[in-house]
């Protein structure tokens, strides 16, 4: 199975891998501070996260060992598995007397909604690449991807996890807008999206979810609740100044003013301790890695590869943007982690798996028998 093709080795994007390792290293380094001091019992948070990093890189090696086009087939069992897991988490949770987002697998509390995001990228990429319509997709042709999205979307919405469900919607929109649509399709989809937002606000959203949005729009109303969290995050970031307070010296995080400092607000700790230039450095590399990902899409050997690479970049990009805008006070608290930085095994494994597929597309960018076409 593990036949090494020398060309793959040469074409492998080593710069990408090095930068990725740098980002992961900084993320882990930051997590140590964000969860400091370690808990009295159990494995420390940073140690657990490093186990997940090791597992994630093993997963990358595995993903690189086969041609990404195999995913056309693996996509099906993968999709079914995730949907079953989502349903299981939902019903097990119901039985246990409350909503539940995870399934206990012993070594990890798997949140199936995390791999669901990647699964959606692969499914949509597979569909849009097999069904190519040059003059734009009609509504009827969009029906399968809509259904593919709606099933996990609704299951996650019922958990209820509004943030992650919205992420699926964003992935769908990003990928669907990317392939060409007919003008009429745009209009109908746009109209029904508007309608469902209004409907959701009035009928579906739970009070606490509505409160989050309202708090964001009107933070004075709730100084100790949601608004308090965002304010504390802004104070953490702002008080970092040019060069930060120094590693492990942040007061906002360590004195427990910052909520969920090792998950959603982990990057606030970095901003506080490393300041503007530290944040610039980190995010510069982070966004550069994403742009490198888009380059992989640009030079992909086929439509599937291009859609995969593009979708994966968008998947990570939108999560990062939403998380960053949240901790900087531009968005309400939605519970979206910063990939590779926030603590969470499911999210980390999914992100690394996705990046493995991205590297795979990049590595196999030359079709056999075709003329070499190198960029730059």
């Amino acid at each position: 199975m593990f036949r090494i093709d020398r060309r793959h080795f040469i074409h492998f994007d080593w710069v990408f891998l090095l930068l990725l390792l740098l980002v992961c290293g900084m993320g882990l380094f930051n997590l140590y501070s964000a969860s400091y001091p370690p808990k009295a019992w159990g494995t420390p948070t940073y140690l657990k996260q490093s186990y997940f990093f090791l597992m994630g890189f093993a997963a990358i090696l595995f993903v690189l060992s086969f041609d990404y086009r195999e995913l056309h087939i693996w996509n099906y069992p993968f999709y079914i598995c995730i949907v079953l897991l989502l349903a299981a988490a939902f019903f097990l949770g119901e039985a246990a007397g409350g909503a539940q987002r995870w399934i206990d697998l012993g070594f990890i509390r798997l949140q199936p909604s995390e791999p669901a995001k990647l699964m959606l990228v692969i499914s949509l990429a597979s569909y849009y690449s097999r069904k190519e319509v040059l003059d734009g997709y009609s509504l009827k042709q969009l029906l399968p991807p809509i259904v593919l999205t709606a099933v996990p979307f609704l299951l996650i919405l019922m958990q209820p996890d509004l943030g992650t469900a919205l992420m699926l919607g964003i992935i769908f929109v990003s990928m669907t807008v990317f392939v060409k649509l007919r003008i009429s399709t745009y209009l109908i989809l746009g109209g029904s999206a508007l309608f469902s937002v209004i409907f959701a606000w009035n009928k579906l959203l739970k009070p606490y979810q509505k409160q989050r949005v309202q708090t964001f729009l009107n933070p004075e109303n709730d100084p100790m609740g949601q608004g308090y969290q965002i304010l504390q995050s802004k104070i953490a970031v702002g008080s970092g100044g040019k060069f930060g307070k120094g590693y492990l010296e942040g007061t906002q995080g360590h004195l427990h003013f910052l909520p969920e400092r090792h998950t959603d607000f982990a990057f606030s700790v970095w901003c506080e301790e490393w300041g503007f230039f530290g944040s610039l450095f980190f995010l510069g590399i982070y966004f550069f890695v994403l742009l490198l990902g888009l380059r992989a899409a640009l030079y992909a050997r086929d439509r599937f590869g291009m859609l995969l690479a593009y979708g994966i970049v968008m998947l990570i990009f939108w999560q990062a943007v939403i998380n960053l805008l949240m901790i900087l006070g531009f968005l309400p608290v939605v519970g979206i982690p910063l990939p590779l930085v926030s603590y969470g095994g499911s999210s980390l494994l999914t992100t690394l798996l996705a990046l493995g597929i991205l590297m795979n597309v990049r590595m196999r960018r030359f079709q056999p028998g075709r003329g070499e076409r190198e960029e730059g």
């Binding site: 702002g238 888009l294 900087l328």
Partner: protein, 632 residues
Amino acid sequence: MKKKRLLFPEIDEIHEHDDSALDVLRPRLLLASAIIMFFAALIFSRLWFLQISNSEEYLDKAYNNRVRVGSLAPPRGHILDRNGIPLVTNRPSFNVLLVRENTRNDEELLKRLADVLDLEVSQLWERIRDASNIPLHIPIRLEEDIDWQTLAYLENHNHDFSGIRIEVTPRRVYHFGNLAAHVIGYLGAISKEELASHGEGDYAGGDQIGKMGLEKLRESDLRGEKGTSFSEVNARGFEQQLLKRVDPLPGSEIQLTLDVKLQRLAEEMLNAEDKAGAVVAMEVNTGRVLSFVSTPPIRLEEFIGGISQKNWNAYLNNIKKPLINKTVQGLYPPGSTYKMITALAGLDTGVVNPDTVFYCPGYYSFGNRIYRCWKHVGHGAVNLRRAIAESCDVYFYQVGHQAGVDALAKYAKMFGLGQKTGLEIENEKAGLIPTKKWKRERYNSKWYEGETLSVAIGQGYNLVTPLQITMMTAMIANGGKKYQPQLVERVLSPDGSVIEQLEPRLVEEVKEVQPYLPLIRQGMYDVVQGKKGTARIARIEGLEIAGKTGTAQVVKIAQYKGLKDDEIPYKFRDHAWFTCYAPADEPEIAVTVLVEHGLHGSSGASPIAKAVLETYFADRLAAQAAEDAEQQ
């Protein structure tokens, strides 16, 4: 050449588009990178705004970020008896905290503190080391619940103890010691599992939570709501002063159906003789439990703040099993108290009528065995009423034999034996009422007729709890109405208004045997009031009582035959039962006493029931006595 795929062979071909198809999408990727760069620029400018332009302001805010939100433990709801007498309340407990910032010469301070607290310095160091994972600004609890003298000393010499603070938390007080300990239960630190199952919103690590009894079952009522403290902290996180507090909401009060007087009396009587046993007193027309005693008691004080291993082992190794709540977890053969069931089975199935007479020569031979009556010289000719009054075994051997074991089981179950009563208490046991089917399933063997004879006098496989026997007696007394037994009468808010009132609930009424109950009651009347009754010892001047004694055999060992009572090893002595109700004509209360290894129902158990009744009817008996005195 490439291999052809088995599945989806078209996949390889589908994508052999020429570059022009991909070229259509490429400009869109450039647009995507533009979007990424746009958001990157937006985020960078926001970072600039927060960290460069306004960093002074936020640094200031971080420095003055001085309000920390903490939680205040709510006082737990009180537990009252039926008359509102408090059984369990709270008192302030004073704990000694060490604030690590303020302590410079640790060693000296700890030496002084150890002297005052009567501890070793090394113990204090150990507690400080245990807390090394806790952030520096959170104080460490060095000692809990110090006494008044220590508190006064520390307060008066506070300049010697800089860095030491006193924290006040509510702690349980048991006004009657271990009274009703099995009903009340105890508290303990919340475990990880409990934290997970309750949701983290309401509880935090280190909180107290009910671990047993009503403290556990009524946790949500008793608990109250946490308050919030807003305290000022300095830049390093150490608390400077309390700015504002939102007081916690005290928990609701639980008013029990128990009567302190009856409860205490029964406990003291059983404890005085150091006996293991149970006393249940219940209102026959409501199902409200007035006294619910299991001895030996558990000592609640030992459980506060976690019981020590030594004490716990002492409980486990105690031969009298204090941790078992004998009222609902103790399983005993009902002995002769079961004879009322056998009698009802005989009457309702038509095996006997009120006038049927059997002759008792002191034994009954069945198969090739002799089944003895407890009275070896025999009762002579007995009818049903006399058979109950004098507890003639031979009479019931014959009734049981003719009715059959399954008929006996039907009536036993009708009166609640062998079933959980559903009382609000943990780990109630069902007990066992044998049937042929049960034996086949359990032992895969057939039922022997001889076993029916043992069952008919309440021995054999029969196992019941004292609460079940009380319910049976109450049903006989009230004409066949099965009331749900209850321990909680109402839940009150701290201001005294009623939140929940638990009304008596009639579970069912057994109509078919109602015509026979008066005869059974006459038999039970004769047991106490009759000339030859087995429990004449329980008679009370001015009050008519009906009841039944019982002796539950523990083992049948010939070597103890003929020995004097106190020569038999404790664990082989028979259990003593007495169950009764009063007044005999208009029953109000049913009382059951079980004394483990108490030998005889009449001498071992009935005096306690008598005392309970005397206390319950004390006012009426006194009034009556006064009236009599006047007439003379």
